[in-house]
Each structure stands twice: as C-alpha cells, then as structure tokens.
C-alpha cells in the first residue's frame, strides 16, 4: 500500500485513492511512423529492478495525473511531479542520484 504525494493538490494519497498508469515519459508514435518505433511506443516497456518512473492519477482526489520516481525493489519514493513534464525535472534527478548514485533509466542517467 503505497502513499504518494500528489504534486497538484498536496495530499499524501493512499494507494486506494490512486490509479496506476504504467510507464511514464512515453513518446507517442502516430501515422507515418515505422513499425519498430510504433511497436516500441505501444508495447515495449522498461522492467527495472530499481529506479523507475510511473504515471499515477489521483483519481479519488483532485483527478490529476502525476509522475512518481520510485524504486521498484524497495518502494522508496524519490519524488513526484506533474505529468505535464516531458522529462524528469532536475531536482528529481538530483534526489535519485543522492540515494542511488550511478542510476540509469532508458537514456537518462
């Protein structure tokens, strides 16, 4: 039972208030994209043991989507930020580095 801080309304939300939305920062490929790119966007997902970025919606709260950076192995939460971000903000990356030096995720490090 996770508790995640909703960056929109400030609530420390219990997992029962939240809806999980899968991997964050996907780049959408639409018409005109090649099969590999489209397959990658639609189906291929990271499955890390460690640092991960996930979408969550505060469904039974403010209704807003946000992104949580957390460790899939220990459930440590490094931080949350609004879903209106195309990449993790610097302060989140710094927070991760402080706890998991040398971390990497997709092409981020």
């Amino acid at each position: 039972m996770l508790t995640l801080h909703c960056p929109h309304c400030g609530t420390l939300a219990a997992e029962t208030e939240l809806t999980a939305g899968g991997e964050a920062h996907l780049k959408r490929f639409g018409p005109g994209s090649d099969d590999d790119s489209f397959e990658g966007y639609l189906f291929m997902r990271e499955n890390p043991k460690g640092v991960h970025f996930e979408r969550w919606r505060h469904s039974y709260g403010c209704g807003k989507w946000f992104i949580a950076a957390r460790c899939t192995a220990t459930l440590e939460v490094f931080g949350t930020y609004p879903a209106q971000s195309s990449a993790p903000p610097q302060h989140i990356r710094d927070a991760i580095t402080a706890r998991r030096p040398g971390w990497g995720w997709r092409d981020l490090a």
Partner: protein, 1003 residues
C-alpha cells in the same frame, strides 16, 4: 485429571459462575475464563481430532499459537467454525462443539487412519492420487472432500455487523506486554500520537504471570501504574482485544478488533478492521514457546510449560495432579515451581542439558523437586490422555531408564520471537546461535517511502528474554522511533529490573538425540496437520531441499496456526537431514494475517445495499412502482421490461417492441453518459479522439462517432452534438461515462497538456427520455412548446426549447430505427416530463419499454452494441463501420495501429447478419464452424455470434456475428453447433434486417 484449584486464578471472578455447553453437555466456568481454561477446569482435556490421522487432541498452548483447540462456536446466524478455545473468552450461554470427527469426539471412525499412519507418509496424496487420471474427479476427490475439513462452513447468513476504521498515528505499538507498554510510554512522552494495541483482554503479557521485580516493585504494580499513566495521556490511545494482523508498505498496518466476541449481547459491530497509517511501527509481540520433539508429544495432557503455568496462575486450573516437566532451558523450572506452590506434584524435572545450576534450578531442588539432568522423554504413555512417561538419556537412542506415572507433561524447547509483522513487509532475520532462534536483523528492516526503516522490534520479539533487557530495549527503540520527528527525544529512563542468572538453553531438536525411526514416527512437529519428524526427514531424502517445497510437500505449518509452534522445530529437522546449517535453510515466508481474521471484518460495512451503492435515475421510483424487472448495467439497475399482470417477461418484450414500432415507446435513457467538452481546442481534441471528424460538425447538428484506444480497438461509441462554437456534448454508452471521461483526461493531461480543453461529466445532471415510434412527433406536439416538425428538426439535428413548460434539449437521434426524439431536461424535472409523456401519450398508445426491447430493435437495425459486438479485440473495420472512419485526417487515436498488418488482414472476422434457415434463435455465445479440424481434433471455428434475439417484427430468430470473410460470403449457409452437438444452419445476410432504406427514422 485436569481440574479447578481451590484457590488462585488472577483473571477469574469466582463469584460469577458462567454456564456453557460443549458437545451438548452443560458445563460451568467463571467470568474471566477462556473457553480453554473452562474446559480444562471441567476435565475436558480432549477437545478435538487431528486432521489426517484423527488422533485425539488436547490443548497445548494458552494463546494465539494454539494448534489443536478449534471448535465450532455458536448456533444459526452466529455460527462460526475454527474458533480457537484459548482466545475465546467465556460468556454465559456459549455453545461449542468439537470438530473433525464422526460420529463423536470419543469414538471417531477416521481414527482408523492412525493405524495406517505408516502407509500415509509425507506426500501421500501427491503420490497416490495421480493415477489413473480419471479417478481423481470421480473417486479420489469426493473421498478426500468428505474426509477433509476441520470446521463446517456456516449455513446461515451472518447476523452480525462489521466495520472499518481508519487511523493515522505517529507511532503504532503492537503488543501490550511490558515491552509494548514501555515503548508506548517512551514514545508518548515525546508528544507523539501513539496507538497501543493488545490482542488479548489483558495487559502485561508474560510478566503479569511471572511477576518479576521492576523498579523495586512487583511487575503487576508496574503494569498497573504504567497503564494508568498511558490512559491519562491525551496523545495515547489504548485498545485491547485488538490483534496486529499485518504490516504493509509505507507504514500501513491492519489490525483486527474483536468488540463483542466476549460479550455477545452488546450492541454494535462485532469486529472492526483498523486500517492504520503510522509514521513508525514498534512491534512488541513477544515470543512463543517451542514444543520438544519426543515420541508421543501429541498425547492430550502434554502442554507447553508456559501454558501450563498460565492456566495455574491466570485461571486457577491444573492440567493434572502429577506433572513431569521436560526442558532445555531454565524458564520451565518456573512452571515446576508454580505447580508445587499450588500444591500439585512434580515427580521430576527432566532437563536435557548435561548441567544447569542457576537460582531457578536451586529453588526447584530446595522445594524438593527431583531434577534429572541430561535426561529426556523416550516415550509418553497413554493414548487419549497421558498416563506416564518413560525416561531416557538425552544423549542416547531411547533406552528406557525408568517409567514415571503422571497425568500431564510440561515441555519447553526454548522460545521463538514473534517476528511475523517484521517479516510481512520485507524485514530480514538473523539466526541467533546462542539462543537458537531467528530474530529480526536490525540492519535490514522493512523500508518506508523515504528508504529508511519504519519498523522496530522490541522485547522478547527482538530476542530479549530477560525482563531488564526487554524494558531497556523498548525504551531505546521508542526513542529511536521518534528521533526523526522530535527535536529532543524525552522518552525518559528505562525502568530497572533484576533478573536471576540463568544457564543458557541448549538446542534440542530430537529427544533423545539418537532416536530410532520408530520413535521419530511418533514425534509430532505439526499437531493439527499430523506432520512428524519422520515426514520431514522423508521429504529431505526425496529431494525437497527448499524449505518452501518441504513445507508444501509435508503440509508442515500449513494448518490454521500457520506453523507458530512447528516452524522452527521443522526446519531444524530439515536442516539436520540436509546437513545444512539452519540459517542457510532459512524460514518459510510469514504472511498476514498473524492469526485468522473474520471475513466479515474484511468486508466491513460493504454488504447488501452498501456493497456497491446503486445509481438511481430520476425515474427509478416510477419504474419500481410499475412492475419493471431490472438488469444491472454499470452501477444502475435499468428496467429490462415492464411485464403486465399475467404476462411473462418474454411476452412483455414482444409487446414493447411491437408497440414501439407501431405506436410509441418511452425509454428512460438517463444512464447514457454525457460529457461536455469545451474550449478553444475542443474540436481538435475530439478529432483525435473520434475516428471521424467532429470539428466540422455544425452547431445544432448531431453525429455518430467511434472512439478507439491507441492500439486501434474500439472502446466506445455514441452521438456527439455540437452545442456552441466551442462546446460539444459527447454521449457515451451507459456505464462508459467515467471510463471515457478518464480516457479524455489521460490524453489531455499527459499528452496534449497545452491544448485548451475542459471536460465535465454531466451524466447525472440530466434526465433523458427517448420518445420513439411513428406517433412520437404527435406526442411531443401535444406537449407543445418546441417545433419538432421534420423541417424544423430533421434527423441528426437537435433543438433547444421549452417542452411542456420544461426547458429541454431535444435530439433527433434513433437507436431503434423509428422516428425518435431523445429529450434531455434537468434531472430534477425528469419525473415531471415522464409523467406528462405517460399521461398525454396514453391516448396515442404510448408505453414504456425496457433494455431488452431496446436491444432487439437495435439488432433488427444492425446497430452494434459496445460489449456485444466488441470485446476489446475488435476494430471498427471489423464491424463494417468504415463509413465512420475518416480517410482524410492525418491522425486519430488508433489510426496508426489500424494500419498494422494484422489489423489490415482480409482474413479478420467481419460483422454480418445471420438468418437461421428454420427461424430458430441461436444460443448466446455460439461459434460458427467450418470444414476441417484443428490440432485438437475439433472442427475449426470460422466465426462467433455476438448478438442473438427473437425478432417480434420478423417473427423469427435474428443474429449478428463476426465471420471469416463474412461480407464476401453473402447467402452462404454455415454451421453453428449448440452445446448438445446439434447444428443450426444459418445464412449469411446483411446485418440490417429492418427498414434498410431508413425511411422510418427519417420520417
């Protein structure tokens, strides 16, 4: 025999006798008794039968770890199986019956299994019941089912109520012994909000029984004053009868409070499930004494030494007149001393250690008790009751040195810390060689959201078995727990206790250590499931090296006590058989709940009307008053049909269809989803969401649209109306509004967050009534106020006005193929409009119709239904809906996916109509088969039926289905088997079987 002593019993009130029944016999106990102590006071030592061999079973323990004492409790709606006698408080009128025997506890047919015990070794069921395959279903399973099971399942509805409670605290302390009390006190003194819970009715744990000296006073006094201090603190909540059931991620804990089990007449809920969010959790859950493995250790009358002491001190109950104590540690000497002080006889203390000479040993000797060191029990004599023990050298193979007659045995194999809660959430254990126990490894705790440990284990649960160490540990942990939150921890000094010196315990996993196979076959590890030392050794020989596999193979620790007594002894035996050190063998996984919790508590208030709150349309009362039969659709109950007196539901559906096609039908369409999409970018947004173009829809017009997920599959459909330049109203399927609203928000917030669009779900703001049929216009004209003529309001247009004095939007849309208006008014006006339509419509033949008539009419018109024609794998192209897919748009959700090779495959099953040759109705969910067989020898499938009805309009069965290359096979007859193997012949036809030209809806 076991009996009530003349004096003693700190928890009972001898002035208040309490009558209860056991197996129909009326017995008497005292207020304050548990069912276990009251049964023992009445010499009811045998209280059940074991699971596999149906061996006689008596009480072994005095608390939550009891493996044998399970009874059926209560009658009728208060019936509950598997109630544990040691944790069931006695009350007047309690009825209990023993379990797992037939025909009676004393004479049990199943006990014959015991005679065949050597033919029923570990893994017997796995080995025996595999072959021949067909025997499993018809012979083995019925037999096993009949002989299996402990308690009976309740037959009645549970008459009690249950609830959930949410609590947020700084510190949760689980366990109300001295460690828990001290931890709570230290934490509370820093100002933290503290919740302290205790599973029993009493505070103080074992210290209250053994009464050591704390801060120069008896422990009982220290417990009382500490409790008073805690009760006076506004930041402390205390709850007894409340068991810490489970620990979960990020400081979440579940606790189970038993409110009225001990006082059934009390009003209010019976159990309460506490859902606790704690900043820090301290578990002070104590330790559980281990049995010793000697032959006959399962005979009724063999108890844990601490339990025997509990019965004497707490309830004034003796398990027997002559008790032999057998131990590998000093603590059991306390039992011997308590027995002698109560005037009972201890013929001998058999100490497996070669030497022991602490103050407790000396005290026992001074009391005249015979102490034999380096000795153990070769065998317990007696079958239904201990009659004596045979003594042997612990170091030997079991040669009998002497026989001693006795009627009880007190055994102690050392103590196992209760590490369950720590382990639930990932806390790791270390093996303490000196004390032969697993205890929490403080360096590897369960981690919280901040990556730091949030659980601390204190006292005996942390491996401290001495009073002084317990209290110091508790105070330290509480300080550490609140350090993070409080600037200066002010928990205060730990109390001081004097502990007598003790000789270290010596691990004893077999008694005697060189016991023969014959003896090992009589040494029980798991009393309830009948797992013996020889079974675990056999499992090891057969290659079950993992403790988790050995557990499942032998069923060790899988009984209702979940291995609380058997776990460590079992894995020590496994470790020795595998010649692998205990820490490398490891333990099995500890899973919540710590002890069973009621299904009622898990459900809480969520039952009956509150299980899933029903959504009601503004017309629900009318439907109920007019005899509607209902069907669940989403969270609503929609009228299925309105049968009249003497009319079957099927007849009613036929009448409703015919009436709607010939006169007027009225439908409550309020459940239809209604989403307002508004903003400068709303048109652009809808063009991405729908497969066709919505931005070009003129104000005042309606357009049917399809919505797909980005992997191409059809997820919803409905009519979109453009309300104004920047506002669209999107209708979704019933029950689809929340899902589609979430879908829109997802894309708006996470992909196109710069687009200026706002979505509002206004589903319940409006009542919507479909007025359908050739006389629909006449009825609306009768109501007056809006020009609904063909010229003023053509098909797929909408108009706003005041209808019958009520502000309304009228949509000229049709899901039946008839002339049809859907009238939306404010929810509060819905009933008024409906009443007017019913009243004014009577003369025109208006009748309400339900969802089944709606389905039949849409199927006659070949209209698809989300959930019937779609199942998450269907794309719009499969349904012949290419006309609703824009070819011009550069992009929409699903467009790229629909270009993938499999999606564009001409071999995809495609929607067609199916006309049965003989007019029969095809069964729901039927498949169409073609020539040839698949790898399993079954005929190949070439399609499936998605909708099938009896059409009153055509007087025969109609159906739609997805069929391999269906549209290219018009006129072809295919086979559709029924479940009984008979074949229905069906011709492939156009899905539209009624008014193909659409003249009626355009009328």
């Amino acid at each position: 025999m076991s009996t009530r002593l003349a004096t003693g019993g700190r928890l009972i009130d001898r002035a208040r006798a309490v009558d209860f029944t056991f197996n129909g016999k009326t017995l008497r106990g005292f207020a304050g008794d548990t069912l276990a102590s009251a049964l023992l006071a009445n010499d009811q030592m045998m209280i059940g039968r074991s699971f596999k061999y149906h061996r006689p079973r008596g009480v072994v323990a005095s608390g939550a770890e009891e493996p044998n004492g399970l009874v059926n409790l209560g009658l009728g709606p208060a019936f509950e199986p598997n109630a544990r006698v040691t944790t069931t408080a006695l009350f007047g009128g309690l009825t209990a019956e023993s379990q797992n025997h037939w025909p009676s506890l004393e004479f049990d047919i199943g006990a014959i299994n015991s005679a065949f015990a050597r033919f029923l070794p570990a893994g017997f069921y796995y080995k025996m019941f595999i072959h021949p395959r067909s025997f499993w279903k018809h012979i083995y399973e019925p037999f096993i089912r009949q002989s299996a099971g402990l308690g009976r399942a309740p037959k009645n509805r549970d008459a009690d109520s249950y609830e959930h409670f949410h609590a947020h605290v700084d510190v949760l302390v689980v366990g109300g012994g001295i460690a828990g009390l001290q931890a709570a006190l230290s934490a509370a003194r820093t100002g933290a909000e503290v919740l302290l819970i205790e599973q029993t009715a009493h505070w103080g744990g074992r210290a209250a029984v053994d009464d050591p000296v704390i801060d120069g006073t008896p422990a009982a006094y220290w417990i009382k004053t500490t409790l008073q201090t805690l009760e006076s603190m506004p930041n402390v909540r205390l709850r007894n009868h409340m068991m810490g059931a489970g620990l979960y991620d990020h400081g979440y804990a579940l606790a189970h409070e038993r409110l009225t089990d001990h006082a059934p007449a009390t009003p209010g809920p019976r159990h309460r499930l506490w859902r606790i969010r704690a900043g820090r959790i301290i578990t002070a859950t104590g330790a559980i004494e281990r049995p010793l493995s000697f032959a006959g250790n399962d005979v009724p009358g063999v108890l844990l030494a601490s339990a025997l002491r509990d019965y004497i001190v707490n309830y004034g109950v003796s398990a027997g007149d002559r008790t032999v104590v057998v131990t590998n540690n000093d603590d059991a000497y306390r039992t011997a001393i308590a027995l002698v002080q109560a005037g009972l006889i201890v013929p001998a203390i058999l100490d497996a250690r070669p030497q022991a000479d602490g103050p407790l040993v000396r005290q026992a000797r001074d009391l005249g008790i015979r102490v034999e060191q380096g000795r153990g029990i070769a065998k317990v004599q007696g079958r239904r009751r201990v009659t004596g023990v045979a003594i042997c050298a612990q170091a030997g193979e079991g040669a009998v040195l002497e026989e001693i007659s006795c009627d009880a045995v007190a055994m102690s194999g050392g103590w196992s810390p209760v590490v369950h809660l720590w382990s639930h959430c990932g806390g790791k254990l270390i093996w303490d060689e000196e004390q032969a126990m697993f205890r929490p490894d403080a360096t590897r705790p369960p981690l919280g959201a901040d990556g730091q440990g949030f659980v601390q284990v204190v006292g005996a649960a942390n491996g401290h078995l001495r009073t002084g160490a317990v209290l110091a540990d508790a105070a330290d942990a509480a300080d550490a727990a609140v350090l993070a939150d409080a600037a200066d921890a002010a928990g205060g000094e730990a109390p001081v206790a004097q502990d007598a010196e003790e000789t270290p315990m010596a691990p004893v996993w077999l008694m005697p250590q060189g016991a023969s196979l014959k003896l090992r076959q009589k040494m029980w590890l798991d009393f309830q499931n009948d797992v013996k030392v020889s079974d675990v050794q056999l499992a090891a020989r057969e290659g079950y090296e993992s403790v988790e596999h050995a557990k499942r193979y032998t069923t060790l620790g899988m009984a209702t006590d979940q291995g609380k007594l058997s776990n460590i002894n079992g894995l020590a035996v496994l470790s020795s058989a595998l010649n692998t050190p205990i820490p490398q063998v490891g333990t099995t996984t500890f899973r919540p709940p710590y002890t069973p919790i009621s299904m009622g508590a898990i459900g809480g208030a969520a039952r009956d009307a509150l299980f899933q709150p029903l959504r009601r349309t503004p017309l629900q009362d009318w439907h109920e008053a007019h005899g509607a039969t209902f069907e669940p659709v989403g969270q609503w109950r929609r009228p299925y049909a309105y049968p009249r007196a003497g009319e079957s539901t099927h007849d009613a559906v036929i009448r409703e269809v015919k009436n709607t096609r010939q006169a007027i039908g009225l439908l409550d369409a309020s459940t239809l989803g209604k989403l307002i999409v508004k903003g400068p970018d709303a048109g652009r947004f809808l063009d991405m969401l729908y497969t066709n173009v919505m931005s070009s829809l003129p104000v005042g017009r309606c357009r049917y649209g399809l919505m797909c997920s980005d992997n191409g599959f059809l997820i919803d459909d409905g009519v979109v109306a453009r309300l104004s330049d920047d506002t669209w109203l999107c209708h979704t399927t019933t029950g689809g509004a929340d899902r589609i609203h979430a879908h829109m928000e997802d894309w708006l917030q996470c992909e196109w967050w710069e687009w200026q669009v706002y979505v509002a779900n206004v589903t319940e703001q409006f009542a919507q009534i479909a007025v359908v049929g050739p006389k629909a216009r006449a009825l609306l004209e009768k109501l007056g106020g809006v020009d609904v003529s063909k010229a003023a309001l053509p098909f797929m247009h909408w108009a706003e006005g005041t209808l019958a004095g009520i502000p309304a939007r009228i949509f000229r849309i049709s899901f039946s193929g008839e002339l049809s208006y859907e009238v939306a008014v404010a929810a509060g006006q819905g009933r008024a409009l409906w009443d007017r339509l019913v009243a004014e419509g009577a003369a025109l033949g208006a009748m309400p119709y339900g969802t089944e008539a709606l389905h039949v009419m849409r199927a006659e018109k070949g209209y698809i239904m989300i959930g019937d024609e779609t199942d998450g794998t269907v794309i719009p192209q499969d349904l012949g809906l290419d006309w609703a897919i824009s070819k011009k748009k550069a992009d929409y959700l699903g467009k790229r996916a629909q270009e993938r090779s499999h999606m564009a495959d001409p071999e995809r099953w495609t929607l067609v109509g199916l006309e049965t040759v003989d007019g029969a109705v095809i069964p729901d969910g039927a498949y169409a088969v073609g020539d040839g067989v698949n790898a399993n020898g079954q005929r190949v499938t070439i399609g499936r039926v998605t909708s099938t009805y009896y059409s009153p309009t055509l007087g025969r069965g109609i159906a739609m289905g997805l069929v391999l290359r269906g549209p290219q096979r018009m006129g072809e007859v295919i086979d559709i088997p029924r479940l009984d193997g008979s074949i229905i012949k069906a011709r492939i036809v156009d899905p539209v079987v009624y008014d193909k030209a659409g003249e009626r809806l355009d009328g």
